[in-house]
């Protein structure tokens, strides 16, 4: 990239995770030039890629917080958006399970908290009612609380849909672009990055784990990101029949604890751990973390542990020293920090974006609303959706949807081509996994990885050494 290349924009968004992409999508509804800067080589590469994939009702938020307000509102917005965008979403409900008398005694308080958060659909359950709902739970259940609205969602397609809608509406998405310095010049922000210089009237900081660093580049030090690592284990699809809903522990002050949840892809998740780490790149799983999860899982649902493990991963939550999101516009600055958005950020994302644009309007952002493009229709990746390999009419039109390449996840050649050639195409193997599920299954590539990687090299013109990191 030429150093002299300067991008002029009305709004620069730093970060292309779920928050940054939601902001870009929201701003695409206004008459303004938006540029999104992402340091990774693909969208959804940071904290957004590794979460518990739950659409929260917010029943257990801290009442009165911004998080509570935005999760509550975001739930409705994202549920509707997911339906419009063909994103897998199953309202399985959740069961909060008490394992001793003390926990059982705290359940009425949880129901009250839910009401304080604007959610009044919880149902108190006896131990036997809990076992009726979840017959494979281990021994020792003392009671429960059903939260019918809790849902599971495809977290990756949400980010991809936001980004696709934004890019189609003209938002510029610059990947592999890390912001190195920020200064103000003639009332505009000037961002020096690893590729180009960006000048923008407004600056939005949605940089997740980097949000306090970027805040620092803007001479603000309102909070400090304290990455909290969550390790998760994904069990084989054959375990899916063991679990009917999201099985939650009674939360403690520190974390919601270890849950067991079905995924829209037909697997079962166990996790997360919650360990503070200093390294914002410490996304390695640990022997200790995984064995703690297995021990916890063995108590909650012994039969689950007899099934094969399909994947184990760790994500970092962008937690800070404060219990709430850190969303702030400073007076006389066209800068909004959207920081410390923790694991509920997926649910809150659309409401958060609306909230930020309202803050901008208070600060003088006056771009006129414009007609939105239709919501993009994403590939059906959920097990309760009609997957491509089951779509006879579509296969008749395009036979490559009938050629299954990844056998464990039943991903067709046509879907892989789509993911590599779409408006926000996968730039690497992990992005391809997120967009198609290819290689994410039980064999982890024993059968298909060589073929899929060769296909990707053919379609993108990139060499396999760079796709597999051999050039680094």
């Amino acid at each position: 990239m030429s150093e002299s290349l300067i991008i002029e924009a009305d709004v620069a968004v730093i970060g292309a995770g779920v928050v940054g992409c939601a902001l870009a999508r929201e701003l695409a509804g206004f008459d303004c030039a938006v540029v999104v800067l992402e340091q990774a080589s693909d969208i959804c590469e940071g904290t957004s890629k590794a979460n518990t994939a739950i659409l929260h009702t917010g029943f257990d938020c801290v009442p009165g917080t911004l998080e509570s307000q935005l999760v509550h509102r975001g739930y409705e917005l994202l549920a509707q958006y997911a339906r419009d965008a063909n994103i897998a979403l199953d309202t399985t409900g959740a069961v909060l399970v008490a394992w001793d008398e003390e926990q059982a005694a705290s359940l009425p308080a949880m129901a009250k908290k839910a009401r304080d958060n604007g959610y009044d659909a919880t149902v108190a359950l006896s131990a036997s009612q809990v076992y009726e709902l979840e017959p494979h739970l281990g021994e020792g259940v003392t009671g429960g609380l059903r939260v019918p609205g809790e849902s599971i969602i495809d977290p990756w397609s949400v980010v991809a849909a936001y980004a696709t809608e934004a890019v189609r509406a003209g938002v510029q998405l610059h990947l592999g672009t890390r912001v190195q310095s920020i200064r103000r010049e003639d009332g505009r922000y000037v961002l020096t990055t690893t590729s180009r210089t960006v000048r923008a009237k407004w600056l939005l900081n949605a940089s997740g784990l980097s949000s306090s660093d970027i805040d620092g580049l803007c001479d603000h030090h309102d909070f400090t990101i304290q990455p909290r690592r969550g390790e998760l284990i994904v069990f084989d699809k054959l375990s899916r029949s063991l679990v009917n809903s999201i099985i939650l522990p009674v939360p403690t002050a520190r974390t919601k604890g270890v849950l067991i949840s079905p995924t829209v892809f037909g697997n079962v998740l166990l996790g997360p751990t919650a360990d503070d780490v200093s390294d914002p790149e410490a996304t390695a799983t640990t022997r200790d973390g995984l064995s703690r999860l297995r021990a916890a899982g063995a108590r909650i649902m012994p039969a689950l542990l007899a099934e094969e493990t399909t994947a184990a991963y760790a994500g970092l939550r962008a937690a800070s020293e404060y219990p709430d999101y850190q969303v702030r516009r400073h007076d006389d600055e066209n800068y909004v920090c959207v920081g410390a958005i923790r694991s509920t950020g997926l649910t809150a994302s659309m409401a958060l974006a609306q909230y930020v644009v309202a803050l901008m309007a208070e600060g003088g952002f006056d771009a006129a609303p414009v007609a939105r493009l239709p919501v993009p229709v994403m590939a059906p990746l959920g097990e309760t959706q009609r997957r491509r390999y089951l779509d006879d009419e579509l296969i008749a039109q395009n036979p490559t949807y009938g050629h299954v390449v990844c056998h464990c996840e039943r991903v067709s050649e046509g879907e892989i081509v789509d993911a590599l050639t779409g408006d926000v195409a996968a730039t690497g193997l992990s992005g391809l996994r997120r967009r198609t599920r290819a290689m994410n299954g039980r064999c982890q590539g024993f059968y298909c990885a060589a073929r899929v990687v060769a296909m990707m090299a053919d379609i993108t013109g990139r060499d396999v050494a760079s796709l597999t990191g051999l050039d680094s």
Partner: protein, 408 residues
Amino acid sequence: MSTAADVVVVGGGPAGLSAATRLRERGVEHVVVIERESVAGGVPRHCVHPGFGLRDLHRSLSGPRYAQEMVRRALSRGVQIATSTTVTDVDEAGVTLTSERGIQRIDARAIIMATGARERPRPARTVPGDRPAGVFTTGQLQQWTYIEELPVGRRAVVVGAEHVSFSAIMTLRHAGVATVAVVTELAHHQSVRGAGFISRTYARAPLYTGTRLAEIRGRRRVESVVLEDLASGRVWTESVDTVVFTGDWIPDNELARRVGVAMDPGTRGPATDAVGRTSIDTLYVAGNLMHPVESADVVAVGARDVADTVAAELLHRPPPSRPWVTLRCEGPLQWIWPNRLLVGQAPPYARLRTSAFTTATQLQAVTAGGRVVAADTLRRTTPQRSLRAPARVAAALGRDGAEIVRLV
């Protein structure tokens, strides 16, 4: 679209092709093999070393040549092979398929499941650390190297020390990758005598027994692995860009479990008798789905017995209606196969596997009440390798109430 066949064989590897060929030889009219890959032949397609075909074709071929020969034989006998075709569902009356031709149903009088086995990948072995590129199984590595001819890496650690692990070392060598260590948590490798010596001299790869892969490190690409000597607790780092997980096979049992056939907890495949009968009358099993894993030629020979049974039951006589007994294992005995027997009818032979090295143990066939019906000594057993059960014990299985097999 719906069609009909006498027998549908799910899987076109050595077992499926061998069974299908034999069915035609026994006079079964319409036999269809469904293969999800673009070329039939199964795992031997990417095993580029000699030794295939010894027991079934009575000559030594390379894996790819063997795969071609098995396909040629099946086609010449009038077997129909549908490639790039995925079986998405099996029930007792047929299969549902997806291919570029769309979704199809084939009704069948009998179905032989021959879906084979795969190696457990990294997550199934709970190896912690980063998740960079450069992590393989042998099957993936071989396809990468021999079929797609893609670059692998420069320095590798091989996890596992059973037969297939040494095949992985040969593939790595072919791909120009140095094997810097072979590690197994077990106290000894589990391949043929001298394998450790061959590994050291041929690939200059030291074999670390009693050692586990404790962690994988690397951002985009594997940068190093942490190895741990389990006895001493000594931990060290090897700088590698490639990790190959080998062996630790598990049957590709998804379709079988979905159709609801009774499974064996030890083999993780469907419970079957010696000729592949399962708890569902029209559903038979052949090959490494029964119990992982035997070599291609052993599997091919065994599949002929399954085909003979299917042919006889389709053409001449109905399946037996006597009650069945399901065998259970105790002690370090991981499985014994056959594991589902007609009451009173002992299998012609039995194979077994243990989860640990054992020496001078006694294998006993026992009744539910604890009475020992037959017993014999096992001189030595090796995990990950099956062996033939002593004839005296095999001959007692399923007879006189013997339904538990234990190693003491």
